[in-house]
Amino acid sequence: MNLEEIKSQIEANVPGCSLEIIPNASPSGQHSLLVDPEHALTVGSFLRDGASPRFDYCSNVTGVDWPLKETTAKQKTKKIVDGVEKEVEEAVKTSTGDYLEVVYHLFSLEDRQGPLVLRMRTGDRAERVHLPSLTPVWRSAEFQEREVYDLFGIVFDGHPDLRRLLMWEEFTDHPMRKDYVDPDDYEYEPTAHDEVLKRTQAHYAAQETPSGAEEAR
């Protein structure tokens, strides 16, 4: 199975869709295909029914949170300064992330091939978090998309029954996001250290019970 081949197959059959191959540096070599949300449903149906091999089995659906990450790297560029070409070191700010991603792992049952990794990205992490649901194509995505909605806050348009799966319905936040803050549900931590210790101390500071603070060390 060649990802390039599948990409050109999709491009030939789904007009107007934009695809991008996301390389994967790890030894697993599972590169993935970034699909634009507008055409995702058509791409999905094509992969299930028309492509060769047919990817009729959607195994895994999951979300990934990529918060905004700014990195500054020093880059050497050639510039003309006072008419003379010089190599100048410049700090280049690059920002990556600031989107939520949903990942589908597809397999072909007939030809026993896979995984084909599809990805979709939201516009940002706060407002534009809508993506099309692929449950109409692969029913196996039903619970898993609900889980992604629950834990990451991606809203799947076209999902037949989009409710929280694991958390209760009154719950408001999305626990799998990287910036999620745990509630202060401290009870008793005799062996606390690192993060837990900090939280324990914060809890005691908030509660102002000096008798227990000794216990928290």
Binding site: Y188, T191, H193
Partner: protein, 217 residues
């Protein structure tokens, strides 16, 4: 014939019922508190600290390096390192744990602390009747409760303990060899120094003596 399958099944239960009077294979119940199965050698449940010799406070192998504390997945270990050094079982000066607590209610018996310990100081116990009416303190084991002798270790895991002892003896032999060589080198250097200086200052003499004594100890 209808009912054939039911009769066949009933014959099977009858075989098991009457078989339980004659066949040990078919009567597997053990009346627990009165009757106990023999201990399986590889069993593990909670960690304990090994000490050499007779005095648990002197003989603890733990040098409070904090590795197990960091690697413990549920973070159930709390160690406080000593400010001073004390000689260990073989007389080498080492740090020791002022506090070593394991919260047994948090520990999940995964054995990772044992795997990462470079000093063979923490091992897995087989003691499982640890219930207590104190929900918090009763399940927080301090180092006096955790310390168990090497003989006990040999009793519960004979094969493993023998291998550990052999490895430790080899290490100590090597260490001794190294120290001897170092001491010999130091003595030779001191002798050369003394020979070089026509009138060696008495303070230097005592100094080298003391240090070499300590090293050979």
């Amino acid at each position: 014939m209808l009912g054939n399958g039911i009769i066949k099944g009933l014959a099977e239960t009858a075989r098991n019922f009457f078989g339980s009077y004659v066949d040990k294979e078919r009567l597997t119940t053990v009346q627990f508190p009165e009757e106990r199965l023999p201990q399986i050698e590889g069993t593990r449940d909670f960690p304990f600290l090994v000490y050499d010799g007779d005095d648990w406070e002197k003989g603890l192998r733990c040098v409070s390096c904090h590795i197990c504390e960091k690697e413990c997945p549920p973070k159930c270990i709390f160690i406080e390192k000593s400010k001073d050094k004390k000689p260990d079982a073989v007389g080498k000066l080492q740090f020791y744990p002022v506090r070593f607590d394991i919260d047994v209610s948090v520990c999940m018996s995964c054995q990772i602390c044992v795997e990462v310990c470079p000093f063979d100081a923490i091992k897995m116990d087989v003691e499982f009747e640890l219930s207590s009416d104190d929900r918090f303190g009763g399940l927080l084991h301090h180092k006096d409760k955790l310390a168990k002798s090497n003989e006990y270790y040999h009793k519960i895991h004979p094969t493993e303990a023998a291998a550990v002892d052999a490895a430790l003896a080899e290490d100590r032999e090597k260490e001794k060899e190294k120290q001897k060589q170092a001491a010999a080198a130091a003595a030779a250097a001191a002798a050369a120094k003394a020979a070089a200086a026509a009138n060696p200052p008495p303070a230097a003499e005592t100094n080298t003596d003391a240090s070499s004594k300590e090293e050979t100890k």
